[in-house]
């Protein structure tokens, strides 16, 4: 079994690298080629053509496209993401700081949503077709369809301004301790939790219902195992496999969600970084940000894949 695991890992890794390579090309094409004349785009339509040419030369945007790409990507892999047009300093520190901030926010959201939605889904499944199930399902569905900016504003109004339970700014004061930082992140995380809860709970519910009705669960019950053991050992293990994949794919959504939430809460995350960079036509910053998100996305999906395979002996054997 082990012997098959390694080629599989190698294959996944290779696939991930190819995906990232393609992504980098698309990002590069989108950010650097589409605007055409970068110097003109930066300096504006009224600028002196000589100044534009000088800037283009300085930025390297007058080189042939493949060469530009090569320079950019070969620098990128060494951690050099180029120089920000806006700040005239290297991009990497900005991207990394923003990424860390976003990860903190995402982590808080996940820590809240994963246990909550799985518990909700499993609980709903165990009471399938009763009012409990219906309440959970309908609540999950309604929360999913409310756009983040609507839920954010409602949450700010209720929890932040009216009840004053949570701080309304996402960024904690300087030198705040970890708990304080987390405290500031809960409110911005909630809109994300709202959106994710419905998806994950629905998967968890469906998986659990299948597993509860499965013959092997009946076998376990008829062995005389206590219900808790039946649920934990026999039902959940099989029920939550598909849920893991859903959780992982939601990382992709999070990126989009983050942009909105971070902007609303004025939080210095990667989402707001990309937005600002796009507004300022700061292409190296934009590319660095997007490609970084791509890397995170591919990495998480791959980890989820591997976790799925490790947990499922059938896949581990390479069968289907």
């Amino acid at each position: 079994m082990r012997a098959r695991l390694i080629p599989m890992l190698a294959q996944r890794l290779g696939l991930a690298l190819v995906t990232l390579l393609l992504l980098s090309m698309v990002v590069f094409a989108g950010a650097q080629l589409l605007p055409g004349n970068v110097g003109r785009a930066i300096l504006g339509p009224l600028a002196d053509p000589v100044a534009v040419a000088a800037l283009n030369h300085k930025l390297g945007t007058d080189l042939p496209v493949p060469e530009q790409y090569w320079i950019w990507i070969s620098h990128f892999v060494t951690g050099n993401m180029g120089i920000s047009y806006t700040y005239r300093t290297p991009v990497a520190p900005f991207v990394i700081a923003a990424l860390l901030n976003s990860l903190k926010l995402a982590a808080v959201a996940f820590v809240i949503v994963v246990p909550l939605s799985i518990a909700g889904g499993v609980y709903a499944a165990m009471h399938a077709r009763t009012w409990i199930d219906k309440t959970i399902s309908i609540a999950g569905l309604s929360m999913t369809v409310i756009p983040e900016f609507v839920s954010s504003i409602i949450l700010i109004l209720i929890l932040g301004i009216w009840l004053r339970w949570l701080p309304i700014t996402a960024t904690a004061p300087r030198h705040a301790d970890v708990l304080d930082q987390i405290d500031h992140l809960i409110l911005p995380a909630l809109p994300l939790v709202f959106i994710l809860f419905g998806y994950i709970a629905r998967m968890a519910r469906a998986g659990t219902i299948d597993a509860l009705d499965a013959d092997y669960t009946r076998t376990a019950t008829l062995k005389g195992l206590p219900p808790g053991v039946v649920i934990r050992r026999h039902v959940l293990r099989n029920a939550l496999l598909p849920t893991i994949t859903v959780v992982a794919t939601q990382v992709g959504y999070l990126v989009g969600g983050l942009v909105i939430v971070e902007t609303l809460f004025r939080y210095q995350g990667i989402g707001s970084l990309i937005l600002t960079a796009a507004r300022a036509k700061d292409f190296p910053m934009l590319e660095g940000g997007i490609l970084t998100i791509g890397i995170v996305y591919v990495l998480v999906t791959m980890l989820a894949d591997i976790a799925l395979v490790m947990l499922n002996p059938r896949l581990r054997d390479g069968g289907r």
Binding site: Y216, T219, A220, L222, K223, R237, N238, L241, P313, D317
Partner: protein, 685 residues
């Protein structure tokens, strides 16, 4: 252990009536659907003494599995006991609280059901799942080593020779037969007082089935466990059970000692059921199979009189108005007003044999040295090797073999769904046919049709019967307009469907009716040859009988030839003129059906024949000694050298079988590939 011992009644339960292992009294069970109670069990009563084996037979939908689940208090969520009681080892299930019920399940009852693959948790090792049983016992073995030793012993007792490998495996890594053994080992590990077996061998091949049944019989004596054995297969029940109960529409219509009940049924339904079986000796040339007219009453139907009244030939007014009381002679009981006349009822089918097709001796299909090799990575899998045969007009060639014998691959080769290896020749009506269907002429494509085991896969669920058959008529027969409608009606009637069915969609039809639609479709273009791939193995015996009759009738009328693939020898015998026995993709034996059944047999055929459980009937009282084949069919990736059967052959001669492949020898049109001289091969006693 001598195999004949199995047929002898096992010593009757001790007289001093101990507490029954299972005692069911007047049990009423309902399923609640959309707020309405549907009655599925109607006041059934029976009890099983310790160490006794009790069989429940009946067709699908009669409530067998519900009875089993009720015995374990494990009804589905919408199932409720509405009356009566279930007692296991003296304890009334309804009065137990959750803890007591768990104790009872942990120590006293076990259940084995049909699909072993699904009964085990796919993400835990066999060891983990088996260990749970021991952990729940009164004196739990805590140390892992102890647990492992206990599991190993148990696996040894179910004759698993490499317990360590099995314990570390996950369910998907083991074969069906192996899994069923594991489940049986798990079920017996607690030494239960009651073991419920729900169709435990239905999903298994004939030889594996025989092996598992042997195992259950042996273990039953070792553990002196009481058994509730549920099956639709009367032959299996006959082999395994001391007493039997016949269920029909949720009622126990007849109960009694197995041999007596099957020999001298006291209920018309039992009688009818027995007559449906294609038992050895019956063939399309001698007699039609009997069928049961009409349908099972729908679940929840209110039945004022006898449950069987709508389908019974003896029914009169009293039958429709008054539920029949139980008539008992000694230990044999029947719920029928006219039980004395149960065996007198007329046959629904006329005794007149089906007119035989006039064999023109034209060969419609000939295969010469058909082989198929699949490349799997760097290795080659020889799925079919050098198969040659010919099929005449109006004849049936039966193909038998276990799963993995290459039956289905052969069917797909003939149909042109797979490309055969170079050198293989398929001729249709004397004309060579291309390997790939697309490269065959239109006529050749039309000439060959197929009926599958599972009609669902062949019928588009969203279309009506009219559309399904109509389209086939348009496509295969090129008919349109009024001629098409006329032919459609004719075809529908030929497969005994009514105009009422035309507007229905597949999901509204029962399995038997769907198979009729599939058959009608296959016959739409007047095919010369129809390949039937296990067409009845998913059906109840009465429905199977009707389908077999239908196929025989159609053959007689249209002079169609069949290639009939099945693992059920009785079914193959009924319809076939010639039979080919396949093992690991090679023909072991081929010849006239009569000769293949009467012998001399190839050792493999002999083993297959001896593994068919046959119920008693007047003409068949011979006791055949069962020949057991051990182990699974070897992998076609790595077939044995010499004679491919040598790893399992009970009559293996010696080194010659391992080194030299026996050449097929033909005497009187009967070909056998074996080193044993013809006059020393086994014959039917």
């Amino acid at each position: 252990m001598s195999s004949t011992a199995l047929r002898q009644p096992i010593e009757p339960a001790p007289r001093a009536q101990p507490t029954p292992a299972l005692d069911i009294e007047n049990l009423d069970v309902v399923y609640r659907t959309r707020g309405r109670d549907m009655q599925v069990l109607r006041g059934i009563s029976f009890s099983i003494a310790p160490g006794e084996s009790y069989g429940l037979v009946g067709e699908s939908g009669c409530g067998k599995s519900t009875a089993a689940l009720a015995a374990l208090s494990a009804l589905p969520r919408n199932g409720f006991v509405r009356g009566g009681s279930v007692r296991v080892a003296g304890q009334t299930l309804a009065s137990l609280d959750a803890t007591a019920l768990r104790r009872l399940r942990a120590e006293q009852i076990s259940m084995v059901y049909q699909d072993a693959g699904r009964a085990l948790n796919p993400s835990l090792t066999i060891f983990r799942q088996m260990a749970e049983v021991f952990e729940l016992l009164a004196q739990p073995a805590d140390r892992a080593a102890d647990l492992r030793a206990l599991c190993t012993t148990m696996l040894n007792r179910v004759q698993i020779s490499s317990p360590d490998r099995v314990l570390d495996a996950y369910p998907h890594q083991l074969s069906g037969g192996m899994l069923q053994r594991v489940i049986i080992a798990m079920a017996l590990a607690k030494e239960p007082s009651l073991l419920v077996l729900d169709e435990p061998t239905t999903a298994l091949d004939a030889t594996v089935e025989a092996e598992v049944l042997d195992l259950v019989a042996t273990l039953r004596r070792e553990f002196s466990t009481a058994i509730l054995f549920i099956s639709h297969n009367i032959g299996v029940i006959e082999r395994m059970c001391d007493r039997v109960g016949v269920l029909y529409a949720g009622s126990l219509v007849e109960t009694g000692p197995t041999a007596q009940l099957l020999r001298r049924p006291m209920h018309p339904y039992t009688m009818r059921l027995l007559r449906c079986l294609p038992t050895p000796g019956r063939s399309k040339a001698t007699a039609r199979l009997d069928t049961i007219k009409g349908f099972l009453p729908p679940p929840g139907a209110i039945i004022p009189g006898c449950v069987f009244a709508d389908r019974c030939d003896l029914a009169d007014t009293i039958c429709h108005t008054t539920p029949p009381p139980e008539h008992t002679i000694a230990t044999h009981a029947s719920r029928c007003h006219h039980w004395q006349r149960a065996t007198e009822q007329p046959l629904t089918a006329t005794e007149t044999p089906i007119p035989t097709a006039n064999h023109s001796h034209d060969i419609v299909l000939r295969g010469t040295n058909i082989s198929k090799t699949f490349q799997i990575g760097t290795r080659s899998l020889h799925a079919v090797t050098d198969v040659s045969f010919s099929l005449r007009e109006g004849e049936t060639l039966g193909i038998v073999g276990e799963s993995g014998s290459g039956k289905t691959t052969l069917a797909r080769l003939l149909l042109g769904l797979l490309n055969p290896d170079p050198g293989s020749i398929i001729e249709l009506a004397g004309q060579p046919a291309a390997g790939h269907a697309a490269a065959r002429s239109q006529d050749q494509q039309k000439a060959l049709q197929i009926v599958f085991q599972n009609p669902d896969s062949a019928l588009n669920r969203s279309h009506t019967v009219r559309h399904l058959i109509g389209r086939a008529l348009a496509r295969l027969a090129g008919l349109s307009g009024a001629t098409r409608t006329a032919r459609l009606t004719e075809l529908i009637h030929a497969v005994r469907l009514t105009d009422r069915h035309l507007g229905m969609r597949p999901r509204q039809l029962s399995g038997g009716l769907k198979q009729r639609v599939a058959i009608a479709r296959a016959f739409a273009g007047n095919p010369k040859i129809v390949i039937c791939d296990e067409p009845t193995s998913a059906l109840d015996v009465s429905v199977q009988a009707a389908i077999l009759n239908l196929l025989a009738d159609l053959q007689a009328r249209e002079n169609t030839s069949y290639v009939f693939i099945s693992h059920d020898l009785g079914v193959v015998r009924y319809l076939s003129d010639r039979i080919a026995v396949l093992y690991l993709g090679r023909i072991m034996e081929i010849g006239p059906a009569e000769a293949v059944f009467e012998g001399p047999h190839h050792p493999y055929t002999e083993a297959l024949l001896s593994s068919i459980p046959t119920p008693f009937n007047e003409s068949n009282t011979t006791q055949t000694t069962r020949i057991r084949l051990h182990g699974d069919i070897p992998s076609a990736l790595n077939p044995p050298t010499g004679c491919v059967f040598h790893t399992r052959c009970p009559r293996k001669l010696g080194p010659i079988c391992e080194t030299t492949e026996p050449a097929p020898e033909t005497i009187n049109d009967h070909t056998i590939a074996c080193h044993i001289p013809r006059n020393q091969l086994g014959k039917r006693p």
